[in-house]
Symmetry: C2
Subunit: 499 residues, 2 copies
């Protein structure tokens, strides 16, 4: 290494908005993603892993979400040619690049899934990180809404595969075309010039998307002149008249008891709009395709209140919501809410090739789904602590390592204490920190007699916490076994707690 | 979306030096890493996933490898405070940061493994990428060489777990202290001032590390005045005299038939160097600990020719080499070579806390190990193509999707063709591209009769390639079954090819 310079010590912390994941946090996520991948694979989706870095040119630099125009990417310039590179901010932009780049080699349609981190150069906040996981599945090159139906069904299957019970989730499906038909009726969409009223429609979309949060009055204010929040901040509205807003609100409230009844109501609302009618037809087709596969309304429903904020959706949109209640930070019961969403976006690949390629897909919010599984108690005990072989005689390290080896050969997680063995209490504290079920102890005297001590740390902890002297006597937390019985006795003990 | 601007189309390609991974490339790597993780976990190592982004301050900005001082990291400045952030270039620097940051919370010693991408701002070349996977296991806070021995044994276990047979690999262990003892004897290390001759020792280390490539003459040239390569490029040498070089070369050639004989030879070579003798003792301890766990010299050996290039190693160093031959690009047989390496580095955490914390670890070259498994034929057939349900009647999409659903419910990967169904030939071409074993076909007439056609695409391909007319007749590649027998018949067919 170069000569030591007198520099201030670096701070031992990650950049703000970044964090580390330890132990079970890593394995639980990996397990969950593996289960999802299995469902995706069963549906014929192939894995894809793109590079984390893209050219800013290919990425389009900013998030395509009109809701958050100021949020950016982490970007830097290449040393040699000055080209701007950036970390991907989602999985859709890289998919568009791959679909364009490999269009002659990939199967058409191309079904792919991908899972991995994305990065956003946003202001971090509590529980809001600048690196997080996404898990996406998309079908590129399939114009038929059968592709959308497939993804909705697959999403329901994936949720059940990771441990969300039927009845604890609902996948809601809507169609942007129906909404656009309603906008046409309301006079804020001109089919002969789709760019007209674009900003107004964006504002309406975002307003509808906030129905749960702001209620009808808030949404109406945002569709009209604008809305003042509690802090006094004013959000400019779309400028719709009350009559126009009535039409849009009618759409929001069009959900009926059955998919057929909802479709009939929507058909009334879109009136003469060709686009709107096309959208209703598509919703009916999706409902029929799902029914033919046995996905009932307890799993997937047509629901006009789902709009999804992103401007780029062009047809069906969908959202998976967890319907069970959890307690929020103030102890109030509330529904868990959305964990996945997606829809059809037919124009994304066009940026590269000039050709429109139909695409549809879903993105699962990995951290939210993990939090839901944790709230449901579905993640406990997936990572057991190791058996710790303690060290009584430093010079018999070989014996201790051999014990750990034997345990591992029998499929038991095991390790030797590798710190300074002088203070035996520290070794037991270490075993405690490791959440070890069992400690192995063998002093010189025991080694000579061909025996060792097995310390049941789970029972030990129970006794320390609550048990009476009688229980302690009847079930000793530490006992001597012959050296040759090490593996069998530890297996026996672990089996007792596995049940 | 914003108004369309007339901009040149972006190029559909990743930045240079980056690539995408498709299908089996993704699952094979994931499978291999899962097997390695299982071995690491069995040894008591816990997973850790640090953020991809670190402050440049925490990272130390440049690779700590004196061999490549000009290679850097991908770095950029924060918008608000101007702080420099960068993508991690390895897994060791983030571990050092975590070990310092969480030193009061982590178990001590802390065993951790991690796997994920790292990024290097290097000039890309053929097969040389700027993003690649590393898979590391380290023990922080264990001064005893038992920790090094554990990692060597675990490395051997991991190689066997992923499919490298015993006999096809060897883990070589050496000790930097022995080499430093030899350097002391040769007069290029002054124990009273370790910074003296640092550059010279760096050059000697790199020279030794290239023994396989340059041979004895090349290494001697680099230890002396320098070496001219075939292209005429001159590399400056360490400036050792012939006598000094003799002493170092003697170390390189100290390997004997048994570990004990090698240790005895090394003891002669380090003469009166206290550091050197300590190193030999450590090697003997490691050998004894490995023997007590049954790791024979067919798996792990003491080998003084292993030095590892990195300047920061302070004690034991180790390397896993695959010993089987593969054909190189010119068709010549050559040994596959190194797939993993590591060693003890006791000073890394000190940067943050001022306190020296002993650490030792290993890094597996994920891509090289995958290439080795591929060369050994251990990766074939791990990802089967889906059964493709073809579409004869667009309006009966629900029936086709139900067929795929039933197959999936029976654990069979299956999908419906979602492209334009008009040209049936395209559907079969698609099935071919998907490497489908079976296609399902049902026209209106068949639907009415309650039957469908199963097309055996594997047999079909065989017949197309080679079979005579007789074989074709005796084993039809397409046959009709009752609709109700779909799953059973496909299972039967797949079972035939699974064996």
């Amino acid at each position: 290494m170069a000569k030591e310079k007198k520099q201030p010590r670096p701070k031992a912390e990650p950049p703000k908005g970044f964090r580390d994941y330890f132990g079970a946090e890593v394995t639980e996520r990996a397990d969950m993603l593996a289960r999802i991948a299995e469902v995706y694979r069963a549906h014929g989706f192939d894995p894809l892993e793109t590079s984390a870095v893209e050219t800013v040119e290919a990425l389009g630099k900013f998030l395509p979400d009109v809701d958050r125009p100021n949020e950016g990417v982490f970007a830097w310039q290449e040393d040699d040619d000055g080209k701007w590179l950036a970390l991907r901010y989602d999985m859709t932009a890289p998919l568009a690049r791959v679909a364009a780049q490999f269009r002659n080699d990939l199967p058409a349609p191309y079904r792919r899934y991908t899972m991995g981190p994305v990065w956003r150069n946003e202001k971090p906040g509590p529980g809001r990180f600048r690196q997080f996981y996404q898990c996406d599945a998309d079908t590129v090159g399939a114009p038929s809404v059968a592709a959308d139906a497939e993804i909705c069904g697959m999403l329901a299957d994936a949720l059940e595969a990771v441990g969300i019970d039927r009845g604890d989730y609902i996948v809601r499906v809507n169609n942007r075309k129906v909404l656009n038909g309603v906008m046409e009726v309301a006079g804020v969409l001109d089919p002969s010039d789709p760019t007209k009223f674009e900003a107004e429609r964006g504002t309406v979309l975002r307003a509808i998307d906030k129905f749960d949060k702001f209620g009808e009055a808030g949404v109406r204010a945002l569709m009209g002149k604008g809305r003042m929040d509690e802090s006094g901040d004013f959000t400019k509205g779309a400028g719709l008249t009350d009559e126009q807003a009535d039409i849009v609100m009618g759409f929001m409230e069009a959900k009926r008891d059955t998919g057929a009844a909802t479709a009939a109501r929507l058909r009334e609302l879109v009136g003469g709009s060709a686009l709107g009618l096309e959208g209703v037809d598509e919703l009916e087709t999706i409902a029929a395709l799902l029914e033919s596969q046995g996905y009932g309304p307890d799993r997937i429903v047509i629901d006009p209140s789902v709009v999804r904020g992103l401007g780029y959706y062009t047809g069906p949109v969908f959202e998976a919501e967890l319907t069970f209640e959890i307690l929020d930070e103030k102890g109030r019961a509330r529904q868990f809410g959305s964990v996945a969403g997606g829809g059809r976006y037919d124009d994304l690949v066009k940026r590269f090739t000039g050709q429109a390629v139909p695409a549809t897909g879903v993105s699962i919010g990995v951290d939210r789904l993990l939090a839901a599984l944790r709230a449901k108690g579905r993640l406990e005990g997936r990572m057991a602590g190791p058996v710790v072989v303690t060290v009584m005689d430093r010079e018999r390290m070989g014996d201790y390592m051999a014990m750990a080896s034997e345990l591992r050969a029998a499929g038991i997680r095991a390790e030797v204490y590798l710190g300074n063995p002088k203070n035996f209490g520290n070794q037991l504290k270490y075993a405690d920190k490791r959440e070890s079920p069992v400690a192995i102890i063998q002093g010189a005297d025991e080694a000579e007699r061909g025996v060792l001590q097995i310390k049941d740390l789970i029972l030990g902890a129970k006794i320390a916490a609550s048990a009476s002297v009688e229980e302690w006597k009847s079930q000793p937390a530490q006992f001597e076994v012959s050296r040759g019985d090490l593996v069998a006795k530890v297996q026996e003990l672990l089996a007792r707690y596995a049940g």
